[in-house]
């Protein structure tokens, strides 16, 4: 993917002239205070809502299944099992055969939910539900994965574990990831690049490269380089929020 450019101004000016291009295989975090239009931007990229002005171009195949989306809530169908939920993209595409079932099984394994294939969402913890949601987004092997504050509602321990899982899954297949968050530490740990956004109207105020070595693990979190990047990102965020006052 190269060259996503957007300029828009909705009625309430959620986003004002956002210019952004994301390269294929990049892990980009959109970081900003609540209500800065991060989620709106993500939905425009997904094609779920139209931009009121400007254009969003995706240089990837726009066929169904090429984009995966993970919401802040797991957004599962409570009447369906883990496998049933993960098979949803295939069910909508109209064909579920041996290949699709194998891919769903692989997705279940990839997020560490083996043994829970036939469990219903109510039987799972919050973290496990989020894993199902991620597995559903990954099952079509998307080129672009959009995540909208997926771990915001989870406890710290689960969140760290899922951070590592997400990095591993990204390293394996290298989809382009756009990750919305309001956590400085999470964005610095996960991404290769961070776009900091201002609030009302949302625009991108800073664009920082994160040149921490890969793969990242627990040692990364305590390294001085990580601390330095967190400080830079914090400063950029403080500046972004200062401009709105």
């Amino acid at each position: 993917m190269n060259g996503v450019t957007k300029r828009f101004a909705t009625g309430v000016a959620a986003l004002a002239g956002v210019d952004l291009s994301v390269a294929r295989g990049e892990f980009l975090s959109l970081l900003g205070p609540s209500g800065c239009g991060k989620s709106t931007l993500l939905r425009i990229i997904a094609g779920l809502i139209p931009a009121s002005a400007g254009a969003c171009r995706l240089s990837l195949d726009h066929a169904p299944g090429r984009i995966g989306f993970v919401f802040q809530d797991p957004t599962l169908m409570p009447w369906s099992t883990v496998t049933g939920n993960i098979l949803l993209p295939f069910r909508i595409a109209g064909h579920i055969g041996a290949v699709q079932r194998e891919r769903a099984a692989a997705a279940v394994r990839a997020v560490g939910l083996s043994g829970f294939e036939h469990a219903y969402p109510y039987q799972l913890s919050g973290g496990m539900r989020m894993r199902v949601s991620i597995a559903r987004a990954l099952v079509t092997e998307p080129d672009l994965l959009l995540l909208d504050e997926p771990f915001a509602a989870l406890d710290e321990i689960t969140r760290l574990a899922l951070n590592d899982d997400l990095l591993r899954l990204w390293a394996e297949r290298r989809p382009t990831i756009i990750f919305v968050t309001h956590s400085v530490f999470e964005s610095a740990y996960l991404s290769t690049r961070i776009a900091v956004m201002t609030a009302r109207p949302g625009r991108i105020s800073a664009d920082l490269a994160v040149d921490l070595s890969q793969p990242r693990d627990r040692a990364t979190r305590t390294s001085p380089e990580y601390a330095a990047i967190c400080e830079r990102v914090s400063a950029a965020l403080a500046q972004a929020m200062g401009t709105t006052r």
Partner: protein, 261 residues
């Protein structure tokens, strides 16, 4: 287990106590049987008139169940049509409300004049009373699908029909079943009211008419016996529908999944 026993034993205890007091009071004050029969008189009447009352119960039950089935089918279909077209919903919903708020006792004589087959006339009355909770509940349910799931369906290129069958209909199921439980009782009420208005519909007489008849003849124990059968029928209908609802929702809906301790 103990709590379960409590839930059954406690109301039963209250019932027995009430019956005992009733029995004692009728004897103590010498209340004549044509004013208030003792529970023992009613039990005896239930025994002697039981077979003929059961025959009448069957007539009423047939109307009730047919009306409930028609309400489930008709109400569900109407709600589906409403969910497919906003214009149709806002155009017709007020008329469903009008049909609901007009007392059935007031419309029943008209329906009995217009519909010549007694069974169909009674069925229509009971249906009018029973269908609204299903329509209104199911309509709400069909419109309650998770917004993010709807977005996800769009993202994966789902058609309108797929969103309906795979998402809206399952979402609406608990709402529909809640409506159905209300309608079960209403269908019985509708059938009884219609029978009251219609009187005896030819060879077959329902339980409601037997109550009227017993009243005219001052056969008060039989009246109570018929009343008792009606109540039991209503309770059984509710329990059956509740059971069906729990079975269908047991794997996922909060109303039917076990509570966390």
């Amino acid at each position: 287990m103990n709590r379960r026993l409590e839930r059954i034993a406690a109301p039963l205890g209250v019932g027995f106590l009430f019956l005992a007091l009733w029995q004692a009071a009728t004897h103590l004050f010498g209340v004549p049987v044509y004013i208030l029969p003792a529970p023992s008189d009613i039990a005896q009447s239930l025994w002697t008139d039981g077979p003929s009352l059961m025959g009448s119960l069957l007539v009423t039950l047939r109307i009730t169940l047919a009306a409930l089935a028609a309400a489930a089918l008709g109400g569900g279909s109407i709600a589906l049509v409403f969910s497919l077209s906003r214009v149709i919903e806002i155009s017709f919903f007020p008329y469903a409300v009008i049909l609901q708020v007009t007392p059935i006792v007031a419309i029943a004589p008209l329906i009995i004049i217009w519909v010549h087959t007694p069974f169909l006339a009674l069925l229509t009355c009971a249906w009018i009373v029973a269908f609204f909770p299903i329509v209104s509940n199911t309509t709400v349910g069909l419109n309650s699908a998770d917004r993010n799931l709807l977005a996800l369906f769009r993202l994966y290129g789902a058609s309108r029909w797929q969103a309906l069958w795979l998402l809206r209909v399952p979402t609406a199921l608990p709402y529909f079943l809640a409506g159905l439980r209300i309608s079960g009782g209403l269908a019985l009420i509708g059938a009884v009211v219609a029978e009251f208005v219609a009187g005896t519909g030819g060879a077959e007489t329902g339980l409601a008419y037997r109550i009227l008849e017993a009243g005219y003849r001052l056969a008060i124990p039989r009246l109570f016996a018929a009343l008792f059968l009606l109540s039991v029928t209503g309770i059984v209908i509710y329990l059956v529908l509740d059971f069906i609802s729990r079975r269908l929702l047991r794997n996922w809906h909060e109303s039917a999944t076990p509570e966390e301790e």
